[in-house]
């Protein structure tokens, strides 16, 4: 009778979620144009973009709350059905639960709606609320909780059915630093269980620290997507930092070097194409000891600024 998409039927590794050439317009305003990217199994994928770039619309389409005009979303090559989506966990940008229902009751209810039996829903709710530090407040109405605790309840609502895919819209916004760490733990934990996790955030430093993969969207199209380290290497400029013992001002006269920043013995410079970085190092060594020399890897903020330009 029950057509529950239970984890038992699934291969142990859940697989890859692919967003394939998805477009969507509201009226004559194109919000998404041929959006294509993947979220790998067991990977934390950060979804970054300015306000109005199309993050929320993309997530709503993945969840099936909104229909795509064209293109499709697949999990391991298969189009998403209601049964598969029921195993997804979702935290919408605009948070909301029933204000007059107790935390425990609504987390159980959402677990039931995701296909859990009532005993399984009870058990997981209890475990999850304890883990999120809400165990003692479980019997209170949501409206009686502080904003931070309401956010935790929201996290519990997204996780209660141990989802096979997590889609979280700005999961860190409004969280206090302790709750951020709890959230990070929970996400890492889900990812290490093989679950693809997609989350959007404005806090680029946090995304940089957390993510395995990155997707950058601007004006409804994907500007960059892939492994974070690879992206950084790809967007690395021929930029170097040199630290010597004495003043590094001589770099100004070195061929091919454009000095960007100089503070006595520390210098940051770009090297024109065709010039060898090792020659610069030799030149430095001839003048005295070299304490450090190496390429400067761009931060996510810099990459972001560059690709959305």
């Amino acid at each position: 009778m029950r057509r529950t998409y239970s984890p038992g039927i699934l291969p142990s590794v859940i697989g890859m979620l692919n967003v394939d050439s998805v477009s969507r317009s509201f009226g004559d305003r194109a919000v998404l144009r041929n959006v294509t990217f993947g979220v790998g199994s067991g990977k934390l994928t950060g979804f970054v973009g300015a306000n109005g770039a199309g993050k929320t619309t993309t997530m709503r389409i993945i969840l099936g709350v909104l229909a795509a005009d064209s293109g499709e979303v697949t999990l391991d090559g298969k189009p998403l059905t209601r049964e598969i989506r029921q195993r997804f966990g979702y935290m919408p940008e605009e948070r909301g639960l029933y204000p007059k229902m107790t935390v425990h009751d609504q987390v159980v209810y959402l677990g039931r709606l995701h296909g859990l039996s009532s005993s399984a829903a009870e058990e997981r709710t209890k475990k999850l609320l304890d883990r999120l530090g809400l165990g003692e407040r479980a019997g209170e109405k949501l409206e009686a909780l502080s904003l931070g605790n309401q956010q935790r309840a929201q996290v519990a609502a997204a996780l209660v059915h141990e989802p096979d895919m997590l889609v979280l819209d700005e999961p860190f916004s409004g969280l206090d630093p302790i709750a951020v760490e709890t959230m990070v733990d929970v996400l890492r934990d889900r990812a290490s269980a093989g679950v693809p996790v997609l989350f959007s955030s404005h806090q680029l430093e946090l995304v940089e620290r957390l993510c395995d993969d990155l997707v950058i969207i601007a004006d409804g199209s994907i500007r960059a997507a892939g492994d974070r380290a690879a992206l950084r290497a790809q967007h690395a400029l021929p930029r170097y930092q040199l630290v010597v013992d004495t003043d590094a001002g001589w770099l100004r006269d070195q061929p091919g070097v454009t000095l960007l920043d100089l503070e006595g013995p520390r210098a940051v410079f770009d090297l024109d194409p065709g010039f060898d970085d090792q020659k610069v190092l030799h030149a430095a060594l001839e003048r005295g000891p070299v304490r450090s020399f190496g390429p400067v890897v761009p931060s996510l903020t810099e990459i972001f600024r560059e690709v959305v330009r």
Binding site: R2, L66, G96, Y98, K100, Y109, L113, G115, A158
Partner: protein, 355 residues
């Protein structure tokens, strides 16, 4: 999980929430008291049988044939009069015959002593004018308030989910239809239980109070049909209530957008109250799906409806219910996720964005 399973989970939550809701508890208690009051109080106030003192044996024999008289035979007229003055009996029959009482004309005694002319009723179905007035009024009242209260609660529950934005999580986990069906089923069940409870209490009350068996014979089918008509009538409007609930995105908008549905409940109420005497109008009202739940049982009570008529009216209502459920569902699905401001009926009708 099937759509049906999801519907059950949604309905179970609605019922749990409502059973703890004060509005529900108070409205149930209020209606039950109302039902008891209407049936039991008139009989209580009318008091017991009239006691009458009489000296003449022949008169006493005549009076004793009356069920509602309690006859006391005394030695003479003076003793009889004294009993009346002491308040031991309500009335006395003295020689003459003359009937005496303190301040209340003892109609039963007078009737018992009179020779009534033969009466030929031209319309034997006609009933006590008080009942003829109170029964349709009570039906209309119960239908109007129950239908309105529970309908509005469907709308409020939908608006609440929109306003708190939980609707996006709900829609991401279960089909929109399951949400709608769960709400409609839960509130229909609660409304039906409330009305059935009122019906049972009314019938039991009427029996205990010793209402005229003839009236009871009319009251039973009337109330039975009323419960059936109420059920179909409530379901008919339930999806529309959910639809208007989804059109509003804040509780403040609800009153405005639910106006058409409010009218569909309110106008028949007043129509039945004001046109109750007009048999032709009632015949028409008893087939219009919105007024049928009150008008048809009223006609059954008055003995004006042929045996097949309630079945036909119920069929008309059922067909209308199917159509309005479809309309309500479409409006609901078309407006549920539009969270910025009020949605118009036309926009909701055109746009169903869920997958």
């Amino acid at each position: 999980m099937t759509t049906f399973d999801a519907t059950k989970v949604v309905a179970a939550r609605e019922i749990r929430v409502k059973l703890r809701d004060k509005t529900f508890i108070f409205s149930t208690i209020f209606f039950l008291l109302f039902a008891i009051a209407v049936t039991v109080l008139p009989v209580l106030f009318s008091g017991g049988p009239t006691s009458v003192a009489v000296a003449d044996q022949a008169t006493a024999t005549v009076l004793q044939q009356q069920e509602d008289l309690e006859v006391r035979v005394v030695a003479n007229d003076a003793a009889a009069e004294q009993l009346v003055r002491d308040g031991d009996v309500d009335a006395a029959v003295l020689a003459g015959p003359e009937v005496i009482a303190m301040d209340d004309r003892p109609g039963e005694v007078v009737t018992a002593l009179s020779t009534a002319p033969p009466v030929r009723l031209l319309d034997p179905g006609a009933i006590d004018p008080f009942l003829a007035y109170i029964v349709p009024f009570a039906l209309a009242f119960v239908f109007f308030f129950t239908s309105f209260l529970f309908g509005l609660q469907i709308a409020q529950s939908v608006t609440e989910e929109k306003q708190t934005r939980i609707v996006e999580i709900l829609v991401a986990s279960v089909p929109t239809r399951a949400l709608l069906a769960g709400k409609v089923a839960a509130l229909t069940l609660l409304a039906f239980v409330q009305v059935a409870l009122i019906a049972i209490v009314t019938l039991i009350g009427a029996r205990l109070a010793g209402i005229d068996p003839g009236v009871l014979d009319l009251l039973q089918p009337t109330i039975g049909w009323f419960v059936a008509f109420f059920l179909v009538g409530f379901v008919m409007l339930a999806a529309l209530w959910a639809g208007v609930g989804a059109l509003a995105s804040r509780p403040e908008d609800l009153n405005g957008v639910s106006q058409p549905v409010q009218m569909a409940v309110m106008l028949p109420f007043f129509a039945v109250i004001f046109l109750g005497e007009n048999e032709f109008a009632m015949r028409i009202l008893s087939y219009i799906p919105f007024s049928a739940p009150v008008a048809m049982p009223t006609r059954i009570f008055n003995g004006d409806a042929a045996g097949w008529e309630p079945f036909l009216a119920l069929l008309v209502m059922a067909v209308t219910a199917v159509a309005l459920l479809a309309v309500g569902a479409r409006v609901y699905e078309g407006s549920l996720l539009r969270t910025n401001g009020k949605t118009s009926w036309a926009t909701a009708w055109r746009s169903r964005t869920t997958v």
